[in-house]
């Protein structure tokens, strides 16, 4: 595997075709909305207003959602780069959120500000532990992680559902949620008067660290080698493939768990059942749109955060279902995977470097 590879000239062919297809689909969507008597102009205006249109929308909606999406997206990106199809970010995020809420509720009174560190560490540890189950099942028994992580997502959902009705329920025992965290156990606001919290810089720092790790360290090289071709990584480099895979799986789980901890300590301040509107699944889109590059995850996390923030505004102000946003996400995702396939075909024909063709190696 060449570490350094020559650049190929940009070819607009498939990209252009895709852009045209995307445009046609957007027009079709607009016509559909128009036919159903909805105001397209107002919908687009609301989408913009709710995402980037004002400092308040950007700081209190878009970037708040982006913080969670970036961390969860990193979790997916790291796993996919190591050849692990971890679709369990949702479950790892939920147990991370549960652990953070449990730790915060238990020790905030006696530990003050230090509680925050324990909450975030607890969230990451819980996420890693949840991922460890799937990692162990894969390593010991060869159970497909696609199936095991999917099932662990459901298990996590029921664990949370049990906790908020049982041991962690708020003292009055009326609502299925935990008691609100005290102020010292919450992430402080980054700028006063906004909802943007310290989770955002934490997420960005994690993304930069992951990028540097993959690009500049021997460990990152081993992870990428295992992801590209496990048998070659073993025979050519004597890389401990199961060990690298397990560690990558744990790091992936820890990042998703941290995302959950940040959601609890920065946004919801309590644990409840519908805490995550599918962040763990959107994270797959975040990671793939970034072509599994941790640095680009920052950009795609903000993009999808904006789409989701704008989507809620669209539903509120223009009565357009916010679910329309997932159509856009899906179209973006399909566009990216088709582009990758075309690039791969070209490489097969010309005998080039696959990783570069996927656009995942050279950040």
């Amino acid at each position: 595997m060449p570490v350094d590879s020559t650049r190929r000239p940009f070819r607009p062919g498939p990209a252009l075709r895709l852009a045209v297809a995307a445009l046609v689909l957007c027009v079709a969507l607009a016509v559909l909305l128009r036919l159903s008597g909805l105001d397209v102009g107002r919908a687009v205006a609301a989408l913009w207003r709710g995402s980037f249109g004002s400092a308040d929308a950007l700081l209190s909606s878009t970037l708040v959602r982006a913080s969670t999406l970036i961390l969860a997206g990193l979790a997916v990106a790291i796993a996919f780069r190591a050849g692990i199809l971890n679709i369990g970010a949702e479950g790892q995020l939920l147990v991370g959120a549960a652990a953070a809420a449990a730790v915060g509720g238990a020790i905030a009174a006696s530990f003050g500000r230090a509680t925050l560190i324990a909450e975030l560490a607890g969230g990451a540890a819980a996420g890693a532990a949840w991922a460890w189950i799937a990692a162990m099942l894969r390593r010991r028994f060869g159970v497909l992680e696609v199936i095991s992580t999917l099932m662990l997502n459901f298990l996590a959902l029921y664990v949370v559902s049990y906790l908020v009705r049982g041991p962690l329920q708020e003292p009055l025992g009326i609502y299925p949620q935990t008691a609100s965290l005290p102020d010292v156990a919450r992430l402080p606001a980054l700028f006063s008067g906004t909802r943007l919290h310290w989770g955002f810089p934490i997420a960005v720092a994690c993304a930069v660290a992951a990028w540097a790790f993959l690009r500049y360290t021997a460990g990152g090289f081993r992870l990428r080698a295992v992801g590209m071709n496990p048998s070659a990584a073993w025979s050519a480099g004597l890389i401990d493939v199961p060990g690298v895979t397990t560690r990558a799986f744990l790091v992936s789980g820890a990042l998703a768990g941290l995302a959950g901890a940040i959601e609890v300590t920065g946004v919801s301040f309590a644990l409840y059942e519908n805490l995550s509107p599918g962040y763990g699944y959107s994270a797959i889109a975040v990671a793939l749109l970034a072509r599994l590059n941790p640095a680009l995850v920052i950009v795609t996390g903000i993009l999808l955060g904006a789409l989701e923030a704008g989507g809620s505004a669209m539903q509120r102000d223009a009565s357009v279902p916010s679910a329309l946003v997932s159509v856009l996400e899906a179209l973006l995702l399909i566009g990216v995977i088709v582009l990758e396939r075309t690039a791969l075909r070209r490489v097969a024909a010309t005998g080039g470097d696959v990783e570069e063709a996927m656009g995942v190696a050279a950040p």
Partner: protein, 310 residues
């Protein structure tokens, strides 16, 4: 007591019906080597299709549901089977697409006001003698006809998979596509048809939610059943009979909450809801530990042939 048990058994079969329909179709697709995570999207499309078709009656509802499910599965097949994009990613995208499109189309068709749609539902058809068997009779033989469709579909799928040449070719495609090709088969075509069959069954599953259970459509009403069906396929060890039994186990787990409510028991029902998933994980691990992994060898493989095509 017996009244509550009867209710529980009937609810178990009722909850199992949409799960078994979707899982039976997904099982066929997975035996051909394709895991369709777009199944969740297939089911919601079937549900909306059923709501649209139901204006011309229940039969039309199920027909449109099957077609809608097949259409979504067709989109998945176009990318994942034809162009051979990654199955997991494509499935995720297709689910997102279908969940978003159905919600939008529903508003487009029936207005944003959210007037609850009331649709005709399939009446319970009681089978004369069999329904009088204690407990099992009313549970299995006093259900809407779509449940009885399964009693035919499960053995037919079993027979087709294990007793016909086409079924053998499908299983070969999922285990060893190169061998299937050498034997004169066409792996891409086989996988395409298998995914479409899964789409029809997933569409019927969504249809049964609307036309045999709820009588209306709601955004996101598939509620994760597509993913549950994938768990059921694994728990049922990729075998038609196993899948039917596994669907009953999952159906029973969700029906337990009704039993608990009826009996006034105050136990954490989440444990029972979670149990099937834990059992599935344990079953997968045990099977693998004994060296008897039931999963098709080429499941999820993007690259169809070991050499040549990327």
């Amino acid at each position: 007591m017996s009244g509550a048990v009867d209710l529980f058994a009937a609810a178990a079969v009722r909850s199992a019906t949409p799960l078994a329909l979707a899982a039976l179709g997904e099982m066929v697709a997975e035996r051909a080597g394709v895991i369709n995570l777009g199944l969740e999207g297939v089911i919601i499309a079937g549900a909306l299709g059923a709501a649209v078709g139901a204006s011309s009656g229940v039969a039309a509802g199920f027909t449109v549901a099957a077609l809608a499910g097949a259409a979504v599965a067709g989109v998945f097949a176009l990318f994942a089977v034809r162009i051979r994009t990654d199955q997991i990613i494509t499935g995720t995208a297709v689910t997102l697409l279908a969940l978003g499109l159905t919600a939008t189309l529903y508003v487009a068709l029936y207005g944003a006001a959210g007037v609850a749609l009331t649709l005709p539902t399939q009446a319970v058809l009681t089978i004369p003698v069999l329904a009088r068997i204690p407990v099992l009779g009313p549970a299995f033989f006093a259900q809407p006809p779509i449940t009885y469709f399964l009693y035919v579909a499960v053995p037919v799928v079993w027979w087709w998979l294990y007793r016909t040449h086409a079924g053998l070719m499908l299983r070969a495609t999922g285990e060893h596509p190169e061998a299937a090709l050498v034997a004169g088969g066409s792996p891409v075509r086989v996988q395409g048809w298998a995914v479409l069959f899964g789409g029809v069954m997933g569409g019927l599953s969504g249809g049964s939610l609307v036309l045999a259970q709820v009588g209306t459509f709601a955004e996101g009403m598939s509620a994760g059943r597509g993913y549950i069906a994938i768990a059921i396929v694994a728990f049922g060890r990729w075998h038609p009979i196993g899948v039917a039994v596994a669907a009953l186990v999952f159906g029973a787990a969700s029906a337990l909450q009704y039993l608990f409510q009826a009996m006034g028991w105050n136990a954490p029902y989440q444990i029972f809801l979670a149990l099937p998933y834990a059992l599935t994980l344990a079953a997968l691990a045990i099977a693998a530990a004994r060296g008897r992994t039931a999963a098709p060898a080429a499941l999820g493989r993007r690259q169809l042939l070991a050499e040549g095509e990327v």
